[in-house]
Symmetry: C2
Subunit: 339 residues, 2 copies
DNA sequence: CCAGCGGCTGTTAGCGGTAACAGTAGCAGA
DNA sequence: TCTGCTACTGTTACCGCTAACAGCCGCTGG
């Protein structure tokens, strides 16, 4: 018996393992996948050979042959805003049990980029796709619709899903917050948010918010938008700008918690009476901010739950209707005065 | 000619496009990949057919045949701490130009989990791997070493890389911070950080920090560890605990900016004189926190640059030595008194 | 004593593309 | 006119693995 080591530079295949262990490739395949019956001693021999050779199976070949891919595409707009990491946590926690693996793609809120990310992912023939939002390019919708796999659009349910949707109604969330603010007696209300034409969820919240204001005979007193930069810092700057321009404002509604926190810190530093003289609210319920001197009023977006539900649909653990609506709870915190 | 539409439920292949456009599969393949010469009218016909059918290529088959995969595995411990998203940004910015695509895997600081993530990724035969840290299981190191692709270990250079390493010396970073603190005249110094046995970089920073203290004849006056929870909140709690236990402490060194920020807010709320009575410093230089009332002393970890350099190595745009060391700069902020 | 079955292993034929090579036609230059 | 080249298109042989099926053996039950 000569040294069985072939070309050390050659990447290993099933054949190498089968030769090293004296059985057919098929048997090796069966052992490594724990499929079908293999005699215990044979199994041992094979595992031993695979281990010493350092064999790593080629899933590309496996997937092509079996027409099965254990990947789930997850398409999200951003990783840097605290919200999607938590969705990912929810997804992973459910997928971990199944053999499925999430693969994330980031779009930076650009529709064309989203389209190409989706195309790229579909070309790997995943077992399912999870995509943030209901707004996509025509082509993207078409591709997804034809893919023949479960598609779950997450975060939002104000619209028509391709296949399934799991999320909250941002329109309603905006409305609810407005109602709470009005009930608390605030009347001169301003909005501060992202200037992102493609952040449809922020847009819908504002829409619902204004709708509810309108119903109470109110309109926004002022509004301020930003894009890019440190959210905390932007929150300070925008708040300063709004209060300079409209000194009589008595409530600031922020499109997310991060800028809301910046605004809160600024107000406190100015010695403003929060929530007496002025109230504040954000959106998302990011745990990250729990350590602020005062707790910002917010509304959790059910991120973990959304991730879990979406993953369950992909994994076939849930056979839901077209839309799954979750209901965020308002967390009044310390920045809205008690009625 | 009857309707050429086959089974609408059947996923499309090159053959479908070739039949629809009246050329061979090979020609279709060439058109779709922009490879080789194809007559303009033929190209048009093929593209038209592909478009109307809604054909999405099967990269699994393509990769198997061409032995080329445009994927780069990126293995990181966490997505939720602001540091890796920025590394990802650096990686993407470089990879975007090449045909390469990053695929992230998250390990939650668990070595075994890391090993299995690496195994899973290698089984898709990526063109390269980028992995946080230099500490891996024996098996993981072996797999990576045998994979025959470029491997870049990032963030840290205090150790022996498998192939390439791009990062900073955390030991040195800790030393530098200690020296700055001592120079500024602080003497009773405490450390507050994560209780994570597998956060090797935080460990090395502390090690370098204590080393430098030792050289100046000092030792840590107190130390406090935490795990899990909202970092900002933990920062408050730990700071309160340390100051209750060791009221004479005059400097707090945090293992990251987030808990440092929590501590800073707490100190300010207590009316403590920062940086006169007590100084603070963190680590990472997260832009997120720019909006704090006072700027926390920190050290940027060159995250963007690390991502870029690593991606350049994978993309073959750089042919560096084994280690690429970057040098963080100390940002004194407003929480270390001027000498 | 043999059919039948369960446990185990091997053989064959692809999965859907692409590399490499093999034409074919048209045209320029010798 | 013929050679040789360029531009274009097709044919063939895999890539590494798995589904499906085909043995083979030993044992059980009729």
């Amino acid at each position: 018996m000569t040294k069985p080591i072939p070309d050390p530079r050659h990447t290993l295949t099933l054949r190498d393992v089968s030769e090293a262990s004296g059985v057919s490739e098929m048997t090796v395949s069966r052992v490594l996948r724990n499929r079908g019956d293999v005699a215990a001693p044979t199994r041992e021999k094979v595992l031993e050979a695979a281990r010493t050779l350092g064999y790593v199976p080629n899933k590309i070949a496996g997937a092509l042959a079996s027409q099965r891919v254990n990947l789930v595409g997850v398409v999200i707009p951003s990783l840097s805003n605290m919200v999607f990491p938590e969705v990912m946590t929810g997804i992973s926690s459910v997928l971990d049990g199944t053999g499925l693996q999430p693969v994330v793609g980031v779009t930076n809120y650009l529709p064309d980029r989203e389209e190409s990310v989706i195309y790229e992912m579909l070309s790997w023939r995943p077992s399912g796709m999870i995509i943030a939002g209901l707004e996509h390019t025509e082509a993207a919708r078409a591709m997804l619709g034809r893919a023949g796999i479960p598609i779950v659009e997450i975060m939002d349910i104000d619209g028509d899903p391709i296949d399934h949707a799991v999320g909250i109604s941002h329109r309603r969330a905006g409305r609810q917050m407005a109602e709470a603010i009005i009930t608390a007696g605030y009347r001169r209300i301003a909005f501060l948010g992202t200037q992102m034409p493609n952040d449809h969820r922020a847009r819908k919240r504002l829409q619902g918010f204004e709708e509810a204001l309108g119903k109470a005979g109110l309109t926004l007193v002022d509004r301020e938008f930003y894009s890019g930069g440190s959210a905390l810092l932007k929150g300070r700057e925008m708040t300063a700008a709004v209060l300079a321009r409209s000194p009589d404002v008595d409530f600031l509604y922020y499109s997310n918690d991060m800028i809301g926190a910046g605004g809160l810190l600024w107000c406190l530093a100015q010695g403003l009476d929060v929530p007496g003289r002025i109230g504040l609210a954000g959106f998302n319920g990011v745990e990250l901010l729990d350590g602020l001197p005062r707790k910002l009023a917010t509304m959790d977006a059910c991120r973990l739950e959304i991730g879990k539900k979406a993953a369950e649909i992909i994994a076939g653990k849930a056979m839901p209707g077209e839309k799954v609506e979750l209901f965020p709870t308002l967390q009044a915190g310390d920045t809205i005065r008690g009625r």
